[in-house]
C-alpha cells in the first residue's frame, strides 16, 4: 500500500495551497501547503514560491506549514536552510510537516531527508513536527521545550533516529508517533533502541504513543507490555504493522492496559480468536482490531513500506 491522499487538514487547520486564488480572511488560521509542481524542479523554484507565500502570510509567517515536493525529493534532502535562515520571518510557525507527498509524487521509502536537528533548534516555539520519509534522515539528541507532537513517518526509520528521540529531552511532548518500517528500507531499529522512549524519563508529558507500521511489531508489543511509560498513556497505537499472535499474547500477559482510552492494533495478522480476546479483556478501552491481514506466500507486510 502507498499513501495516495494529501492532507486536507493539518494541526487542526484547513489546508490551503500557497498560490490559492482567494486569500483567507486570516492567513494564520490555515495550514499553508508549499510545493513545486515538477518533481525534478530545481531549488530556486521552491525558494521563489516560499517568498510568494511569505508575502501572503504577513510578518509572522504561516502558523502551520506543509512542505510537499521540494524538487528532486527522490534523490535529495529537503533544504532545511530555507526555514532555518528565515527563522526571523517565521516567528509564528507552530506546526511543520516536511515531505507531505503521495506515492505518485514520491514513494515514502524514496523520500530523502537530511538532518532535522537544525530545524528544531531554529524554532524553539515549534509545537508540531511531522516528517515523511527517512532516507538519510538524521537527528541529534537535543532539548526542545516547545514540542508537543512529533511524528516521523517512514517505510524504514533508522535506529540512530529512534535512539536520538529517546535520548532527547522533550518535556512537553504529549504525542510521539514513529513509523518503524522494514529493514529492507532502512528500518533497522530493534526493541533495545526503543528502551529509552519506553522508559519515558525524558518524555514526562507523553500521553499518546504510536509505534506503527513495524516489521518488528511482535517485538515492540513484548517491549510495550512491560514498559513504564504505558501507565501514563491514554492512547497506544501499534497499528499498520505485522502484529501477530505472539505480540498479542505478550500484551495479554503484560501490565494492565485497562486505563487506556484507545488501543489501535488495526492492520494485523492476529488470529480472530486472539484479537477477540484482546477486545474482551479490555472493557472500556476502544480496541481497534480491524483490517486483519492474511499471510501471503511472500510473507507479512507492513501497511506502508515502499
Amino acid at each position: 500500500m502507498t499513501i495516495n491522499d494529501h492532507l486536507t487538514t493539518f494541526a487542526g487547520l484547513p489546508v490551503l495551497d500557497w498560490d490559492h486564488e482567494e486569500s483567507p480572511p486570516d492567513p494564520a488560521a490555515v495550514a499553508w501547503r508549499l510545493e513545486v509542481e515538477d518533481f525534478e524542479a530545481d531549488e530556486t523554484e521552491l525558494r521563489e514560491k516560499f517568498e510568494s507565500l511569505l508575502e501572503r502570510t504577513g510578518a509572522a509567517g504561516p502558523t502551520a506549514l506543509i512542505i510537499g515536493e521540494w524538487g528532486g525529493a527522490y534523490e535529495q534532502a529537503f533544504p532545511t536552510d530555507l526555514l532555518v535562515r528565515n527563522g526571523a520571518r517565521l516567528s509564528g510557525l507552530r506546526a511543520l510537516f516536511i515531505g507531505e507527498m503521495v506515492g505518485e509524487q514520491c514513494e515514502i521509502s524514496w523520500i530523502h531527508q537530511g538532518d532535522i536537528t537544525p530545524v528544531l533548534e531554529a524554532f524553539p516555539a515549534l509545537e508540531h513536527l511531522s516528517v515523511r520519509g527517512a532516507e538519510g534522515l538524521e537527528l541529534s539528541p537535543m532539548r526542545h521545550e516547545g514540542l508537543r507532537e512529533l511524528v516521523l513517518e517512514s517505510g524504514g526509520l533508522p535506529a540512530a533516529v529512534v535512539r536520538a528521540v529517546g535520548a532527547s529531552d522533550l518535556p512537553r511532548l504529549t504525542r510521539l508517533e514513529l513509523w518503524l518500517g522494514v529493514d529492507q528500507y532502512g528500518g533497522d531499529a530493534r526493541a533495545d533502541d526503543l528502551a529509552p522512549i519506553l522508559a519515558g524519563r525524558s518524555l514526562p508529558a507523553l500521553t499518546r504513543l504510536g509505534l506503527r507500521n513495524a516489521e518488528i511489531a511482535d517485538e515492540v508489543a513484548a517491549a510495550v507490555a512491560a514498559a513504564p511509560v504505558v501507565a501514563r498513556l491514554t492512547e497506544l497505537d501499534l497499528s499498520m504493522g505485522v502484529l501477530g499472535d505472539t505480540g498479542a499474547e505478550a500484551l495479554l500477559a503484560g501490565q494492565p492496559l485497562t486505563h487506556l482510552k484507545t488501543l489501535d492494533l488495526s492492520h494485523h495478522f492476529m488470529t480472530p480468536e486472539l484479537a477477540q480476546r484482546l477486545v474482551d479483556e479490555l472493557p472500556g478501552v476502544f480496541v481497534d482490531v480491524s483490517d486483519r491481514q492474511e499471510e501471503r506466500e511472500w510473507g507479512r507486510y507492513t501497511a506502508v513500506a515502499e
Binding site: D5, E37, G103
Partner: protein, 361 residues
C-alpha cells in the same frame, strides 16, 4: 440503415452493441468475425454501416494477426503471454485495409484505429494539436537505451509503454535514483525469459529482471513518458475513462488503484464520480471534459474514442494518458439513460454523428 459489426462474435462487446441496436428498433446487425476477415477475406460491402470492434481476447485471432503482420507462421500465445505486439499491429493494419476495401461506411476509420493503437504516434498527434500530454522521449528498443535516454533527459521517473500495447499490457512505472531502481508493473518474468501479464501488480527492485523485461519488450518499440503524478482520493490513485461519442463526453468512469496502474481491468475498482467531480471543482472538471472533446476532434470520422485522462496530484491540471479505439466497453454506465452502445446508435439514428463529423473534418 443496415449495420454490420466486425468483431469477435463470442465477445460481449458484440452482444452489447447488437442489443443496443435491437432496443432502438433497428434490424439486427450482421456480424463479420475477425477470424473470417483474416482467413477468408469476408468483409462488409457497400451500403453497410460498419462498427469495427476489438480483435482482442481471442487467441486465434491474435495468432492470425501476428501471422499476417509478421509474414510468417506464428504460434499461439499462452494465456497472458506478451508476444509479437508490433507484428499484431502490422497485421491489424492489413486487416483494416481489407475491411476498408469492402466499401462499407466505417464508423471508426482504419487510420484512426491504427494511430490510437500506436502510442508514439498518438502522443505526437495529440501534442501537435496542443493537447496536454506528459512529455515523451523518442521510442527506445532496449534497457541500455532506456537508461541512456533517461539520463540525457534528466528524468528519474518514467512510464515505459509498449508502442503497440493495449491498456496496461506490458507497462512499467520505473523510478531511478543513483544505484537504486524500482519498477512497478503487471508483467511477470518467467524463468525461460518469456513475459506475461499478471493480475497482481508487482514491484521489481533488482535491475536484472527489469532489464530483462525491457529488453524482451524492446524490439517491438517502447514509448517513454515522463511519470505524471496522478491525483488520488480515498487513498487510491485515480484516472478517468471518458468515452466521447460524436463529440459528447457523456460516459465517464473513475478508475482507482492502490498502484500506479489505474488501467488494469482486475484488482482495481470503479471510483465515486461525484466525489471526483467535487474534489476537482467545476472549472477543472469542465476543462478536463473539453480536453476529451478536443481529443475526439483529432479523429472526426470516428464515432467514439475512449480517452484516459489523468488529474495531477494536487488537482492543478490534467493530461491525456491514452486514447483507445476500442475503449467503449463500460457496462452499466449510462448517460441520459443509454449505455455507450445505445448512445452510439442514437447518434447515428438522429444525425448527430454525421453533423459532428462534417463540422470537424
Amino acid at each position: 440503415m443496415r449495420l454490420g459489426i466486425v468483431g469477435n462474435p463470442d465477445n460481449r462487446r458484440v452482444a452489447m452493441f447488437s442489443a443496443a441496436v435491437a432496443r432502438a428498433g433497428l434490424p439486427a446487425p450482421r456480424v463479420y468475425p475477425w477470424r473470417e476477415v483474416l482467413l477468408a477475406g469476408r468483409v462488409p460491402g457497400p451500403g453497410t454501416t460498419v462498427r469495427i470492434d476489438s480483435p482482442g481476447e481471442d487467441a486465434e485471432v491474435d495468432r492470425l494477426l501476428r501471422e499476417l503482420g509478421g509474414g510468417r507462421a506464428a504460434a499461439a500465445a499462452e494465456h497472458g503471454e506478451i508476444v509479437g505486439m508490433a507484428a499484431a499491429h502490422a497485421g491489424l493494419r492489413r486487416a483494416l485495409d481489407r475491411v476498408a476495401a469492402g466499401g462499407g461506411d466505417l464508423l471508426s476509420q482504419g487510420a484512426d484505429i491504427l494511430t490510437m493503437s500506436d502510442k508514439p504516434r498518438c502522443h505526437a498527434l495529440l501534442a501537435a494539436a496542443g493537447l496536454p500530454v506528459p512529455p515523451a522521449l523518442e521510442p527506445v528498443h532496449g534497457y541500455e537505451q532506456l537508461r541512456t535516454a533517461m539520463r540525457a533527459a534528466g528524468w528519474g521517473r518514467v512510464f515505459v509503454k509498449p508502442a503497440h500495447g493495449s491498456s496496461a499490457s506490458g507497462v512499467l512505472a520505473v523510478a531511478v535514483s543513483g544505484p537504486r531502481i524500482t519498477a512497478t508493473t503487471s508483467v511477470e518474468l518467467a524463468a525461460d525469459g518469456r513475459i506475461f501479464n499478471n493480475l497482481r501488480v508487482r514491484r521489481y527492485e533488482d535491475e536484472a529482471p527489469i532489464a530483462a523485461i525491457v529488453d524482451r519488450l524492446g524490439p517491438d518499440g517502447l514509448h517513454i513518458e515522463r511519470w505524471y503524478p496522478k491525483a488520488g482520493l480515498g487513498n487510491r490513485v485515480l484516472d478517468l475513462r471518458v468515452v466521447v461519442i460524436a463529440g459528447e463526453p457523456g460516459h465517464v468512469v473513475v478508475r482507482t488503484s492502490r498502484s500506479p496502474m489505474t488501467n488494469l481491468h482486475l484488482g482495481n475498482a470503479r471510483g465515486d464520480l461525484a466525489a471526483v467531480r467535487a474534489r476537482a471543482g467545476a472549472p477543472a472538471w469542465e476543462a478536463a471534459m473539453q480536453t476529451c472533446v478536443r481529443v475526439a476532434r483529432c479523429f472526426p470520422h470516428t464515432l467514439h474514442v475512449g480517452v484516459d485522462l489523468m488529474f495531477r496530484a494536487g488537482w492543478r491540471d490534467h493530461a491525456v494518458a491514452e486514447v483507445n479505439a476500442f475503449g467503449d466497453l463500460l457496462p452499466g454506465v449510462l448517460a441520459e439513460g443509454l449505455d455507450t452502445y445505445g448512445a452510439q446508435v442514437a447518434a447515428l439514428a438522429d444525425g448527430r454523428y454525421p453533423r459532428w463529423a462534417d463540422a470537424h473534418a
